[in-house]
Amino acid sequence: MDQKNKNSKKPVYSKFSQQELPAWKPILTPGWVIASYITIGALFIPIGLLAWTASDSVVEIVDRYDEACVPDDFSKNPQSYIQNPNIKKTCTRSIKVPKKLVAPIFVYYQLENFYQNHRRFVKSRSDKQLRDVKAENDTKFCLPIAYDYDNKPIVPCGLIAWSLFNDTYKISTRGKDISIEKKGIAWKSDAKAKFGSNVYPKNFQKDGLIGGATLDESIPLSEQEDLMVWMRTAALPTFRKLYGKINTDIEAHDTIKVEIQNNYNTYKFGGRKKLVLSTTTWIGGKNDFVGMAYISVGGICLFMAINFILLYVFRPRRLGDPSYLSWNRHPIT
């Protein structure tokens, strides 16, 4: 008998092999549907309100200066202005502060229609070279900004570094300069792991291959925070990058004066430049969208919940009535 059982091909019974595992078999009952909608609504609307209030508390000042800073003589042809090294590029803007800016105030430059996410641009860098002084010849992906006329490697090489933003801002209010702190604007990991502390700029912006800003050759890359910020390529053609921090409050209704060195050429490609001063809260900068989106989706969910409740009340329907089935309405031939 044992022998027989051993040789038997009878499948072994287990809940798994017989596909009888205990399982949760949820179906979308009216209860579930309404409960889900209400839950989502009840969750989203408060979050939305929270985010919206947070965003509302942020004070943001945006000032577009690219056009305004072109002298009237050149307004037809801003190129000739920006490319002429002999013209002073200083431009002063005065901005009214609508609401009190509480420190820390973040200073950004915003570029528009600037494709930092273009593949040619994104690729054009050498992480090895940035990190390691020995790898300064690793410029394979940096072309065409790889070597100077003497065929010496450019450090940091590549289009990204080469096109470094070079407008500068000086802010003063009530005749008093407000210092903009440039430390701590980059990610720590960049300074620690991506930009070497013993790598110094070399042959940078030389020999007619001048793009954007120059770098102080005595400061190692790991301390060139502007470069680090710039080299975290932006996701979209409209982007802000951190310029610095202001650690003093700016009172409401004050007028701030900004002295801008308008160097960066956005006129060529029809880009725009903006100066942004902004405070932050826990969700970041001013962004009504998140709050509004939360509130509206929450609202839609509540609306759906009500609709469903009404439907269930006014259009009760016998469950499981197969006469609704397509093949019962149109019998198979």
């Binding site: 092999s17 593949r119 996701a235 409209t238």
Partner: protein
């Protein structure tokens, strides 16, 4: 050897050797010529070589696809023959060039994973085949070692020229030349079922010259040289000569024993190996089984092509835009986007050569958008199907205890097709019935004997509502179940008037005696006496024949010995009341064939009287009765009709006395006919036999029951309720087929039967004339007319159920091109179709007609070799692993042990598999569209420069790691409703038949859902994160932050979408779905912790930038839920207001209504239409006619 010599019988004389006719015409002359160059030196050690003869293949059999050497190149080649895989190969190669938007390694890795998984699967399958080969190759056979000593040797070591000794019931290890056997005239019986599917035994005989060399020792000096044809595929020809003792002897197929056949009824044979291994005829003859692909997979290919089209289109549009923008970057000397340094650009971005750059960019875009094509879809489907077949094989409800046979899915690529069967084409014998014949009734001398009740009678009684059955405990109904120890296989006869020797008291005891004597003598069975118990068992060509001999034995006419010329049996002497032995001299056997429909023997009894004993079909026998032999004709006919009504197979028994003179004349003519070699030999034999088989005296009729298998009517009922059409294709005669039709409720009384036959007087007249053309023309006209008449009937009434019954002869005309479509229309309109008397080829043709004519999925089920064509032709072939050998099983896709398992196989496994596979494929496209669209949208924001939003490794691991496992879990485990409900609500099956889960609407619906989700995710993320600071430290989101956030949302949405779509959450689902999400975070942690040179943009992206920022989490939460809301709304509305059938059953289960009989009845009744067959429909049809008036009066609730 033992008993060997006791049975040395010269059977060669009693057979007319139909199968072994020599082909004198093409003999000898070609030997040594081209195609006939094989020379075999028998019994030479080392086989072939005398003077450096050519080397022949060894006897090693290889059925594997690959050898260890060829596995890699060949299976790789197989993999890349798939369009999608080839495409990914091309992208992988391109990814090593500058064109690639991602790193080569990350592109190659998923491809390697996918291809490796497929190859591992191939490898495992091939390994299993190798194991089988190994078993066959290591079987042992006795081979002559030299000096008359035989030793056991493995098959694979067999060489051409070896002398082997094969014993009873062993397979021949190679193609052998028969030298001698245990019979003196060196004949042997061979079962060729594996070759041609015929179950009857074939007779082979060696040359006279070698027939005396029949013991081991005589082979020590045996030497012979055989010259013969080269290996070829023809099973029925063999040309050669043997040089033996200085003489040339011609050889014929009569001496050739083919590998794959089996020695039967013969103790041993000696043979010389002629063809080995791959030279053997069976291997030369083997063809690849047709490879079948399911309809779903074909449609899936179309979807993939569609995706390819979308991909090429977007890539094209993208590169046109890219070309234009790139060209604009440089206008003479004026650069626009100077930061891209367009004046110093390489070819890929060169504004001066923008068209070429655009063309290159087109390739880049293709690489980027390749994520629209689910790379892992094929391999996932393969894995899922293998797992599904494991579930099928392990289903305890499809295990047949008695034969110890579980279900066995032989191919794994058709599982979902099981859920879409529109028409089942079923064989009858052995499939619907057991193919075990039981002698149950007989009519002797006009008196009916036998009180057994047949299945059909039971079913009919049930149908009539007979009180006998309602009480259900009648003794006849239980006897065989309660008392299995007493029952004799093949015998279910019960009548106290005859059993236990009481027959001698019956009025016509002399006729009864003759009747049973005839049963004991007129057959070709061979007795096998167990020497210890004295019990006799029989080996017969067919189960019918065995049933007769057994019945005779049980009733006291025990046939126990057959010699070359005699038949001996023990019987009760009515006078002395003692058992006496009788030996009749056997003079001739006039064999049965399908044209003659009868079989006779001529014997000389102990008084020297010559008797012709004959049994045959009623249609031929009644015509051959003598004027004075019709005494019982009327009663017998009546009984025969009753038996046929009860689903029994009947034979008429008759005899005549033959005078010596008559016999001599016959014998001369018969021998002459037998020995003739002309083409009309069969006709001559027929003529000779017809002359003596006449003027017979009727004895009576036998009735044998071909029992329905257990559970067949119930199974058919369920399948019919599921809306599956069932056609019966049988070789049996019309009456039997109709009987079976009734007994399994394929036919019922109310049904209009449309019968198409060719028996009008003019056709019969034409047949007598014998002019083939005239017969064909008239027959065709007649068939056409009948079909059209049937169609007219059909269109006249919409509410009635029709049954179509057509016989083989008419079928031959109905299947002609000109009318086959009309025929199909008629057949499709009928509730049941029964094709009787159909040949194997017709079965296959009908199958093809249904398959191609309706475009629906067909399933053929059968057990015999005659069903092979049908099984291979149908979309799915199911083999019944029953008694008729393995031929059907070997050519089937799935083998089950009993017809009734079909119910579970289709309604449960089929439905599940269909649902799983189709949902899984939809989901795969969905998830890839979600992913691919975000890539596309992002690229649009990057001025179509080919920049991906994601890190290389995010890209490559998406398909393989984060989203595949839940999809596979869905494909393997999901159940919309449990097995119990699948069976309870068979109409659910229609979801598969009508392909509701994989129609274009649903596929595009999922694609649209994917598109919507992806658009929602993308825009929410970029709007929420850019351009403002996204965290408290005033940091703005770079590419890595936005990309990773979008990716996180995609992973969440895709996995939660799976959670919404799944109906059946086991622990496995939870692990895979939530595990996929957790895996993503773990990956992000692990990858981000690697050195910055490896992780590049992902370096510490999670720990440093994302995780501390609340907005990341809020965006994730928001996008995940918002992207799922459209689907959720749709689903909620659909589930509530437009539920599909499975949804409805889920409601019922949920509400607990399934225990409410009235409610369930209401739901189920919907599945019965007037045209439904099966017993439920039958009882409803009856009730309806009874209570028609009542129903009309009652207002609907």
């Amino acid at each position: 050897m033992g008993t060997g010599r006791t049975k040395r019988v010269h059977f060669s004389k009693i057979y007319s050797f139909q199968c072994g006719r020599r082909r004198y015409d093409d003999d000898g002359s070609q030997i040594g010529g081209p195609g006939f160059s094989r020379v075999v030196y028998c019994n030479e050690t080392g086989g072939v070589s005398e003077g450096g003869q050519s080397y022949y293949a060894d006897n090693y059999m290889r059925s594997t696809k690959y050898t260890p050497m060829s596995f890699f190149p060949k299976s790789l080649f197989e993999q890349f023959r798939r369009v999608a895989n080839f495409f990914f190969l091309v992208t992988a190669i391109l990814s090593f060039t500058e064109l690639a938007p991602y790193s080569a390694v990350s592109a190659v890795l998923p491809l390697i994973v996918v291809i490796a998984a497929s190859m591992v699967k191939e490898g495992i399958e091939d390994w299993q085949r190798k194991q089988q080969d190994h078993e066959v190759n290591n079987r042992k056979v006795k081979v002559h070692r030299g000096g008359g000593v035989f030793e056991s040797r493995q098959w694979k070591k067999l060489k051409v020229g070896d002398i082997v000794k094969v014993e009873k019931d062993e397979f021949f290890p190679a193609d052998l030349l028969l030298l001698s056997s245990s019979y003196e005239d060196a004949i042997c019986y061979v079962e060729t079922m594996n070759l041609d599917g015929e179950t009857n035994l074939k007779l082979k005989q060696s040359l006279e010259a070698t027939s005396t060399i029949n013991d081991d020792s005589s082979f020590s000096n045996f030497k012979a040289a055989v010259k013969c044809e080269d290996p070829n595929a023809s099973l029925y020809t063999f040309v050669g000569t043997m040089e033996f003792q200085g003489q040339q002897y011609p050889l014929s197929p009569q001496q050739l024993l083919l590998r794959g056949s089996k020695l039967r009824n013969t103790d041993y044979i000696y043979g010389a190996v002629i063809f080995t291994g791959h030279d053997t005829k069976v291997i030369q003859n083997s063809t690849e089984p047709p490879s079948k692909r399911s309809g779903i997979e074909r449609r899936m290919d179309s979807v993939i092509y569609f995706m390819f089209f979308i991909m090429f289109l977007t890539a094209f549009l993208g590169s046109v835009y890219f070309g234009i923008v790139t060209k604009n970057d440089l206008d003479g000397d004026r650069q626009k986007r100077w930061y891209l340094a367009p004046d110093r650009s390489d070819i890929y971005f060169d504004p001066n050569r923008a068209p070429i750059a655009a063309i290159y960019h087109f390739l880049t875009d293709l690489l980027l958008y390749s994520y629209l094509i689910p790379i892992s879809l094929y391999v996932s489907i393969e894995v899922v199907k293998v797992l599904q077949t494991i579930f099928i094989n392990n289903d305890i409800h499809m295990y047949y205890e008695e034969a110890d046979k579980p279900a066995h899915a032989r191919t794994s690529n058709l599982t979902e097709e099981l859920g879409q069967i529109n028409t089942i084409l079923s064989d009858k014998t052995g499939t619907l019935t057991c193919n075990s014949m039981e002698f149950i009734k007989c009519s002797i001398a006009g008196t009916a004997y036998g009180r057994g009740v047949t299945e059909v009678e039971k079913a009919m009684a049930k149908r009539m509502g007979s009180p006998l059955i309602v009480n259900g405990r009648d003794k006849y109904f239980d006897d065989d179940d309660n008392d299995p120890s007493l029952s004799v296989k093949g015998y279910n006869f019960e009548d106290e008037r005859i059993t236990n020797g009481y027959w001698i008291h019956e009025p016509h005891s002399d006729v009864i005696q003759k009747f049973f004597r005839l049963l004991a003598i007129c057959h070709t069975a061979i007795p096998d006496v167990d020497e210890e118990t004295g019990k006799v068992t029989y080996e017969a060509e067919s189960p019918d024949e065995a049933a007769f001999v057994i019945a005779a034995r049980e009733l006291g006419f025990e046939f126990y010995k057959r010699t070359q010329t005699t038949v001996s049996f023990v019987e009760l002497d009515p006078v002395s009341k003692k058992r006496v032995e009788r030996t009749y001299e056997l003079l001739n056997v006039l064999e049965f064939n399908s044209a003659r429909k009868r079989m006779s023997v001529i014997v000389k009894d102990e008084d020297g009287k010559l008797l012709l004993l004959s049994k045959g079909a009623d249609s031929v026998m009644f015509a051959r009765l003598a004027k004075n032999g019709r005494e019982f004709e009327e009663n017998t006919k009546k009984h025969v009709n009753q038996y046929a009504d009860a689903g029994l197979r009947t034979l008429i028994l008759a005899y005549r006395e033959v005078t010596d003179k008559e016999y001599e004349a016959f014998n001369e003519k018969f021998t002459e006919a037998k020995n003739s070699v002309s083409a009309d030999r069969d006709d001559l034999i027929d003529e000779a036999t017809a002359e003596i088989e006449k003027d017979l005296i009727l004895l009576g009729a036998t009735a044998v029951e071909d029992k329905l298998q257990k559970g067949v009517p119930e199974c058919i009922d369920k399948l019919a309720q599921a809306g599956i059409k069932i056609w019966v294709l049988t070789g049996d005669k019309m009456e039997t087929a109709i009987n079976i039709g009734f007994s399994c409720s394929l036919l019922r009384e109310g049904m209009k039967q449309i019968t198409i036959i060719l028996e009008s007087p003019e056709i019969i007249a034409a047949e007598k004339e014998g002019d083939e053309n005239v017969i064909a023309k008239i027959s065709k006209e007649s068939v056409k007319k009948q079909i059209l008449a049937g169609k007219a009937q059909l269109s006249a009434s919409t509410s009635e159920a029709f049954a179509l019954i057509i016989d083989g002869k008419s079928l031959a005309y109905a299947l002609r091109d000109s009318i086959k479509n009309t025929f199909l229309e008629l057949a499709v309109g009928c509730a049941s179709v029964i094709c009787c008397r159909s040949s194997p080829k017709q079965k296959a043709l009908v199958t093809r007609l249904v398959k191609e004519g309706t475009g629906k999925t067909t399933l053929a089920i059968g057990d015999g070799a005659n069903d092979v064509g049908m099984l291979q032709e149908a979309d799915i072939g199911i083999g019944i692993s029953g008694v008729e050998g393995m031929q059907a099983v070997m050519s089937s896709d799935i083998a089950i042990a009993q017809f009734r398992f079909l119910e579970r196989l289709l309604l449960v496994h089929g439905h599940w598999c269909y649902r799983r596979i189709s949902s899984m494929i939809c989901y795969f496209f969905y998830k890839n569209i979600v992913f691919g669209t975000t890539i596309f949208l992002y690229e649009a924001y990057a001025s179509f420069s080919g920049q991906a939003a994601y890190n290389d490794w995010y890209l490559s691991l998406y398909n393989v790691f984060f989203t595949s496992l839940p999809a596979i879990a869905l494909g393997v485990f999901d159940q919309d409703v449990s097995a119990r409900f699948c069976l309870k609500f068979p109409l659910l099956y229609q979801e598969g038949v009508q392909n509701t889960l994989f129609r274009w609407r649903r596929i595009f619906g999922w694609m649209l859902n994917g598109l919507a989700s992806s658009v929602i995710i993308f825009f929410l993320c970029i709007r929420a994160l850019d351009p403002e600071a996204y965290n408290k430290n005033g940091k703005t989101a770079g590419l890595e932050v936005v990309g990773t956030t979008i990716y996180t949302c995609v992973v969440w949405v895709v996995n939660c979408q799976m959670a919404l779509a799944v109906n059946y959450f086991t622990l496995i689902q939870h692990i895979f779905i939530w595990g996929g999400i957790i895996l993503w975070y773990l990956f992000l942690l692990g990858y981000g912790a690697m050195p910055a040179t490896i992780s590049t943009t992902a370096y510490k992206v999670f720990v440093e930038t994302l995780a501390p920022a609340p907005s990341y989490w809020f965006v994730t939460l928001f996008a995940s839920i918002a992207a799922l809301i459209p689907y959720f709304c749709y689903n909620a509305v659909q589930m509530r207001f437009f539920p599909a059938y499975h949804g409805m059953i889920q409601w019922i289960r949920h509400e607990g209504n399934c225990e409410d009989p009235e409610y369930v009845q209401m739901v189920r009744q919907r599945s019965i239409r007037t045209t439904t067959v099966g017993y439920t429909a039958r009882s409803i049809a009856r009730d309806n006619t009874l209570s028609h008036l009542n129903l009309e009066r009652q207002p609907p609730k």
